[in-house]
Amino acid sequence: MENENKNLNDLFTFAEFDEMESEHIAAPRYSYWKSVFRTFFRNKFTVAVAILLLFILCFALIQPMRSGYSPIVTPNINSPELKFLKPCKEHIFGTDHVGNEVFDAVWAGARNSIIISFVCTGINMIIGILVGAVWGFSKKMDKWMIEVYNIVANIPFLLLAMILCYVLGAGMKSLIITMTCTEWVIVAYFIRTQVMIIRDREYNMASKCLGTRTMTMITKNILPYLISVIMTYVARMIPNLISYEVFLSYMGLGLGTTNASLGQSISLYTSYMRGYPHLFWIPVGVLAIISISLYIVGQRLADAADPRTHM
């Protein structure tokens, strides 16, 4: 009893006070990229789509190497019993008008489409971001770049594609040139606008007051803020370019008849749509799955890259 009283009395004495104690931050350390991935992996649906996408991408890269498919190699052209087969155990996606496996054709096409869209997106983004970042800071450059942009933005894409196709001939190289020679200007313009929005924020003025050079400002102050919008842009551009490629190949302006391509397949198989609808719908379906999952994963990654979602 007495002991208890003593304890109680002890409680009513002053505690020690350390001023610095309250400066500590109790919360666990924050890391940007860790938070990005934590946010991204939190959503089960996103993870499922990401796994599916990864699987498709790997499959599209590996399967054609094994099959060695080429649209001009047609060993079964003289075996009518191997043509127009419906999907079955031996022929997963069936066979087409020349007796080739649709499965092989689709994946070979998907591989080319994916490679082209990734390469073009890469080129467009790298040039676009570099030019756009400087463009956003330089008033001098803005004056003439804006004119370049006005011209480029007003050239009909199809017209440009047609001209380049006739001049350079069909093929992978000319298709990549077609899809990058003007597109980077559009990216640069987008980046320029974004840079201008955050360029005059106070923390950039603070950097200027500390004598920070423009190039350092771009890499340290501006681009880190743009990760999320750039990712959103990429998430839109990759599927867009895939459908461009399909569209151009469909129009006969793309890869030409010697290369496999989803557009090529779709264009070829359209004529058999009545009798053998699977020929048309299977490549369209694969195209849709690739585009949509690319878009979803890209978009979710962009969301996760926005620090406002990190909590």
């Binding site: 610095m20 931050i25 924050y30 007051c209 004598g211 920070t212 350092t216 620090p307």
Partner: protein, 324 residues
């Protein structure tokens, strides 16, 4: 007391400065009109005015962010406004630093505290090696009451007061001679304002700094400033030593600002009334106003007629105070 200002060394001199902004269609908005004053080495000079008074514009002009449309700014006797060489520009950055109003907006959210504080060191390569740089950052953080362990944190993990102290550390690490503090406490909670003010006073004494302290409120300024300039709509209306300004406020706008300071006493507040500034009661003769020295070191912006009125008033106040 006011005489010692004469033999004090001038560190920064604002000479008949006008600052205007284009508003398109040949219209110009004049943010600062004919600002003209000296700041002495080692003092805290306060510039007090409300939003739109041009106080921030003038502060930023010193840091070469806003260009002048007339006049000159001199630092240690050398012109720092207008076109100057790159070397001189770097020199201005080294010696004049700024503390910003909103600590949430003025720190790079995507950089660690270590980078934020080191930024100036990197730009001027003010360190021997990595070890030296880290040591300098740790020292700067400790000087403002933060901990070295904060280096790896990001600005958003800090409270407002802590962030403002990071902003101060980043300016101090440059070892500047002159600091423009643009409303450094107005974005902070009342309870932590005091800490930042104390810190600024402590650093000033330790490092022999000179402050231009921009504020919108006279209550803060009385505590921190040695001399005060009151600015209204781009015009400086009164300059005086802090004690003088509070004892003998002359310009009606100064009086209006003074009367608007809320006092923490319900009984006193009941009888206090804010005085609304009414410029139409000033001399309307159209005579151009100039800065006139009414007592040594005490300037007021007035026409001849107004000046006579102020003279009468200050004499009256002096007499009354002597009688008490």
């Amino acid at each position: 007391m006011s005489n010692n200002s004469i033999d004090r060394e001038v560190i920064l001199s604002i000479k008949h400065v006008d600052i205007s902004f284009d508003q398109g269609h040949k219209k110009k908005f004049v943010a600062v009109k004919d600002a003209n004053f000296d700041i002495y080495k080692g003092e805290t000079f306060a510039l007090v005015g409300e939003s739109g008074s041009g106080k921030t514009t003038l502060g930023r002009a010193i840091l070469r962010i806003n260009p002048l449309s007339a006049g000159e700014i001199e630092f240690e006797g050398k012109r720092i406004s207008g076109k100057i060489s790159r070397e001189e520009d770097r020199n201005v950055v080294r010696n004049i630093q700024m503390i910003f109003q909103d600590p949430a907006a003025s720190l790079n959210e995507r950089a660690t505290i270590e980078y934020c504080v080191s930024e100036g060191l990197y730009n001027f390569h003010l360190y021997k090696d990595e070890e030296d740089r880290i040591a300098k950052v740790d020292k700067a953080l400790q000087d403002v009451g933060l901990l070295p362990e904060h280096k790896s944190r990001y600005p958003h993990e800090f409270s407002g007061g802590q962030r403002q102290r990071v902003g101060i550390a980043r300016a101090m690490i440059m070892d500047p001679k002159f600091i423009v503090a643009d409303e450094p406490i107005s974005a902070l909670d009342v309870s932590i304002r005091a800490q930042v003010l104390n810190l600024m006073n402590k650093l000033k004494a330790e490092k022999n700094l000179t402050y231009l302290f921009i504020a919108h409120d006279l209550s803060v300024v009385r505590f921190i400033a040695d001399r005060i300039a009151v600015i209204h709509l781009g015009e400086i209306v009164e300059i005086a030593e802090s004690e003088t300004l509070f004892k003998y406020p002359l310009h009606p706008y100064t009086i209006s600002l003074l009367s608007a300071v809320p006092m923490p006493d319900p009984v006193v507040e009941r009888d206090r009334h804010a005085i609304v500034y009414d410029p139409s009661k000033l001399d309307q003769s159209g005579e151009k106003r100039t800065m006139k020295e009414i007592r040594p070191g005490h300037f007021v912006y007035a026409t001849t007629k107004e000046f006579a009125g102020y003279e009468e008033k200050i004499a009256q106040m002096e007499k009354e105070l002597k009688e008490n």
